[in-house]
């Protein structure tokens, strides 16, 4: 296998797909730079899989265009598109051996036999599948099946790799390992990839950029860091796992930032609010807060539950107006836990990256 592939960018231009009255995908525009991996992230039914299937050629867009490199592929059938997909069910052909599965795309292209052999052996080596080529897919473990599916997609040297929730049939540990392998292969070959998942952690760990989708719309596109620090709206904030969204009163704002009041405390934002008005809200990240014994300055409250998960202890604290705040304490000392019912004082951060609205 060559060190790099002839890869290309993907451009989605106002892409829509309607099923009857349902707008599964609604005017989505997105550019995936050549060589990068973009995750489509969102809850089930948000249109991410439909978008992926349109790129692969399995669904005809209702409106809009798809370009791979400079070539428009919107109406091309799947078998002439330079894309290769890794299916959620793997879709390994049960009546063929591992070898025949991997060779399938090459045979479909009527490639000479010695070259097929060379390429398949290459793929077997890269995916650490040596010795498995005579087996039939049901004899393999979930992780091996996953590797065969990836090898089968890679041997055809596609310009674009598509992943449709490829890890959802694996157990948690294997999932973490396989996503590392997928990322490593993708980086090494520098192949443009679109990866669909509903798992925020998976998306953040694997992607150059994450596109969050909701109800057919592309809500926000950004690096994992951008999404986490500056979520575009409440949906993104909640979907990327930030649970404390609290109302705030705007005290002062200028181009350099803003000052808001939250539970009687003042907090600085490094960015001004997106819309004008006295009421706004912000995200308090669990790891940005601390708990002190009651009496200290801060927001008074009492511990409702605590969960010790090893590297951190996660408290849920009820503050004055009944709101529940999640507060993480890292590297905790088990002798100094605040037990349920203890009155505490929540230390809010002095500064946040941005306001939510």
């Amino acid at each position: 296998m060559p060190e790099t592939f002839a890869t290309a960018s993907i451009t989605l231009d106002s892409l829509s797909k309607h099923f009857g009255a349902t707008r599964a995908v609604d005017t989505v525009s997105l550019r995936v730079p050549a060589g990068s991996l973009v995750c489509l992230l969102g809850p089930s039914g948000c249109g991410k899989t439909t978008t992926l299937r349109m790129i692969g050629g399995f669904e005809d867009p209702t409106a809009g265009r798809i370009l791979i490199g400079d070539e428009e592929v919107t109406t091309l059938p799947p078998y002439v598109r330079p894309t290769a997909m890794v299916f959620q069910s793997y879709a390994l052909f049960p009546h063929m051996s591992v070898y025949d599965n991997i060779a399938y795309g090459l045979r479909a292209r009527r490639m000479p036999r010695p070259e097929i052999k060379a390429r398949v052996e290459d793929a077997l080596a890269i995916m650490e599948l040596h010795g498995q080529q005579r087996k039939s897919p049901p004899q393999l473990s979930g992780g091996q099946q996953q590797r065969v599916a990836l090898a089968r997609a890679l041997v055809t040297r596609p310009k674009v790799l598509l992943f449709d929730e490829p890890l959802s049939n694996l157990d948690a540990q294997l999932r973490v390992r396989m996503r590392g392998e997928i990322r490593a292969v993708q980086r090494r070959l520098g192949i443009t990839s679109v990866y669909v998942t509903h798992d925020q952690e998976e998306a953040f760990s694997i992607a150059d950029q994450v596109a969050v989708m909701n109800k057919g719309h592309l809500v926000q596109l950004g690096t994992p860091r951008e999404l986490y620090r500056q979520p575009a709206d409440r949906f993104v904030a909640e979907f990327v796992g930030l649970s404390n969204i609290v109302p705030a009163e705007l005290l002062d704002s200028n181009d350099a930032g803003a000052v808001v009041r939250v539970y009687g405390q003042t907090i600085r934002s490094r960015r001004p609010p997106r819309r004008p008005g006295p009421d706004t809200s912000l995200v308090l990240r669990p790891e940005a807060m601390r708990l002190e014994p009651a009496g200290a300055s801060g927001v008074p409250g009492h511990v409702q539950t605590l969960a010790f998960v090893g590297p951190l202890v996660r408290y849920v604290v009820a503050v004055q107006d009944g709101t529940l705040l999640t507060v993480d304490q890292h590297n905790p000392d088990p002798d100094e836990f605040f037990v349920e019912g203890t009155a505490v004082s929540v230390q809010l951060p002095a500064e946040v990256p941005a306001l939510l609205s």
Binding site: A84, P94, H95, A108, T156
Partner: protein, 632 residues
């Protein structure tokens, strides 16, 4: 050994009561077996020879064993063997259920089939020992050689054509977006549940010498439908739906992901069809070819009605058995039918067990409409419409024919044909009684065997499954012949009783009842039964309160299926019924041969109406189209 058998394994909480129950079970079973043996094996003292020495005549007597000591020995082994499993000894209910299963399969499946072989190698009714005389006789009869060739020809042609056309029909109705699929599926499946010879009768109404289309509309007199092409045509009408049914189940279960993956990897639609779709349905195609082949070679009614003197093995066997009462020659003929059927069954079994791919993984999408170019899709749709039109025409002609004075000559509407039915009421009662009986028996047996085969672990489970499924591949005529040979004479004398017909039907259709129940059983999470056992319910209680209620739909579907198949059967009935137990289909068949077409149409029409009502009931009961229930 007896001591070991009587004490229960340690893990069981041994109480006096349990031990007493276990001992009682052994005693009761031994007694029952002894009673059965006394009934099945009798020793009689018969006169051997007389010697005249001077004036004194000495009469020599000898003891003669009549009956079936071999069967008794087999049964004793079948009852005893399960006792040797420690696991089974701990579970008396399972033990008794298994014994009942082994006993019934031995008596009603393996023994009659074995008897076909035993009789076929016998020189004459009273002869003992091995002989090839019957086969020499067969070779000497040119008629038999011709009938064998004819049978294979009819079987091969029907199987190939029905499988090809059935595959196309199934593909169109499962995977394309043509209009009216629901009704087309129902109409094209109907011939499967009607008496097959009603089709050839309807064909005669339309295309016969005085047929509505050939004579009245087209005025053709030089051509006639009688002969091999007529038989094949008729066979196709009922075999195409069979093939289509088997294949549509598989087409509907192929994961769309597989084909998409193939296209995604660069396979053009035709390449994908050749390398992915077609290999995946190969096992189903083989099954369809096997079943249509067996149907075609076993059929008795159609060749009699439309063959026009074209002899096949089934008709030859009938003549030898029933008209000339030559059991041994009939058995040899039945073997000629049985051997290709068993070979085909073994072949199909071997291939499908090696390669069965219909595994549904999570996230797999099945049964989605495939985009097809119009020049492929619409001709396929035309084929479906043509078949549906022929089916409607056939059933229409039967229903109309029942209400005209004399089909072919005088088409004045009349009700007088119905009066002929009144004489057939006793036969209809017989048929209903037998069919309800075999439905219930087959349904219960199906549930029992399914429970044993899917949920329980014991040695020899595969053999039990195989024996219970074996009848699937046995031509109906051979079953009739086997039952006559096995149970005709002393000590049974079962011929002419309702019992033998009910049992024959129940066990003949057991494979379908079993498969339906197994499919339903697999749908039920085993943890439901485990939860019941865990909560302290016994096996019996769990079966009655958990397993059976969850399977009741499958049970009733099985009962009605067997009922319908029994109501419309002729191949087995013609051998097993007698004067007092004459069945409706047999009577109807005689009317078709000897009566006027309109009288016969009234008979067929009534049967079709009964079947349609049963199908409606079946759909109502299960909330599914009957088409889905006939998938095996």
């Amino acid at each position: 050994m007896a001591g070991k058998l009587l004490t229960l394994p340690q893990r069981w909480p041994v109480t006096r009561q349990r031990q007493a129950t276990f001992a009682a079970l052994i005693v009761v079973e031994a007694l029952l077996l002894a009673l059965l043996a006394a009934r099945l094996v009798q020793v009689r003292v018969v006169e051997d020879r007389r010697e005249l020495v001077g004036n004194v005549e000495t009469i020599h007597f000898r003891r003669e064993v009549i009956g079936d000591p071999l069967l008794v020995a087999l049964l004793a082994v079948g009852v005893a063997v399960p006792f040797f499993s420690g696991r089974l000894r701990r579970e008396p209910v399972l033990l008794v259920a298994l014994q009942a299963g082994i006993l019934s399969l031995t008596i009603f499946v393996l023994w009659p089939l074995g008897q076909v072989f035993a009789q076929g190698f016998r020189a004459g009714p009273l002869a003992t020992g091995f002989s090839l005389l019957q086969f020499e006789r067969l070779l000497e009869t040119p008629m038999v050689a011709r009938a064998t060739r004819n049978t294979l020809y009819i079987g091969a042609m029907s199987a190939v054509l029905a499988t090809v056309i059935g595959t196309l029909i199934a593909y169109t109705l499962s995977l394309t977006d043509v209009p009216g699929k629901r009704w087309l599926r129902i109409i094209t499946t109907l011939p499967l549940v009607s008496p097959p010879f009603a089709v050839s009768f309807a064909i005669l109404l339309l295309f016969g010498r005085r047929g509505l289309i050939t004579y009245d509309l087209l005025h053709i007199t030089s051509w006639n439908i009688y002969g091999p092409h007529g038989i094949i045509f008729v066979q196709l009408i009922s075999d195409i739906p069979l093939a289509a049914l088997i294949l549509s189940a598989v087409f509907a279960s192929i994961s769309r992901d597989l084909e998409e993956a193939a296209e995604d990897l660069g396979g053009s639609p035709l390449y994908v069809l050749r390398t992915v779709t077609f290999p995946l349905v190969t096992p189903a195609i083989l099954t369809a070819a096997l079943l249509t082949f067996i149907n075609a070679i076993a059929d008795f009614g159609n060749p009699m009605l439309i063959g026009g003197g074209y002899q096949v093995l089934a008709t030859q066997a009938f003549i030898q058995m029933i008209e000339l009462f030559d059991l041994q020659l009939g058995a040899a003929l039945a073997m000629l039918l049985l051997v290709p059927a068993l070979l085909a069954f073994a072949l199909q079994h071997w291939i499908t067990s090696k390669r069965s791919y219909v595994t549904v993984t999570s996230g797999a999408r099945t049964g989605q409409v495939r985009k097809l170019p119009g020049w492929i899709k619409w001709p396929l749709y035309g084929l479906v419409l043509l078949l549906a039109a022929i089916d409607l025409l056939l059933y229409g002609s039967i229903l109309v024919g029942a209400f005209v004075r004399a089909w072919g000559f005088d088409y004045t509407p009349t009700l007088e044909n119905l009066s002929g039915l009144s004489s057939a009421m006793p036969m209809l009662r017989n048929s209903l009684f037998v069919s309800v009986g075999s439905g219930l028996l087959g349904g219960v047996a199906g549930i029992l065997f399914a429970w044993l085969v899917t949920r329980q672990k014991f040695p020899g489970r595969g053999a039990l499954d195989f024996s219970a499924t074996l009848m699937y591949a046995i031509p109906g005529t051979v079953i009739g012949i086997g039952y006559i040979i096995a149970f005709n004479a002393a000590p049974y004398f079962w011929t002419g009783t309702f019992f033998i017909i009910i049992v024959a039907y129940a066990f003949r259709r057991l494979p379908v009842g079993l498969r339906t129940a197994v499919a339903a059983q697999r749908q039920v999470d085993p943890s439901l039964e485990e939860a019941s056992l865990d909560l302290g319910a016994s096996r019996l209680r769990t079966f009655a309160l958990i397993t059976f209620p969850l399977l009741s739909r499958a049970f009733f579907a099985g009962v009605i299926y067997i009922f319908i198949r029994s109501m419309t059967d002729l191949s087995t009935a013609i051998f097993l019924n007698a004067g007092r137990t004459q069945l409706y289909t047999v009577r109807m068949f005689r009317v078709m041969i000897t009566g006027t077409p309109s009288e016969a149409a009234a008979f067929a029409g009534l049967l079709v109406v009964i079947i349609l009502i049963s199908l409606g009931l079946l759909s109502k009961l299960t909330g599914k189209s009957f088409v889905d229930l006939f998938r095996i």
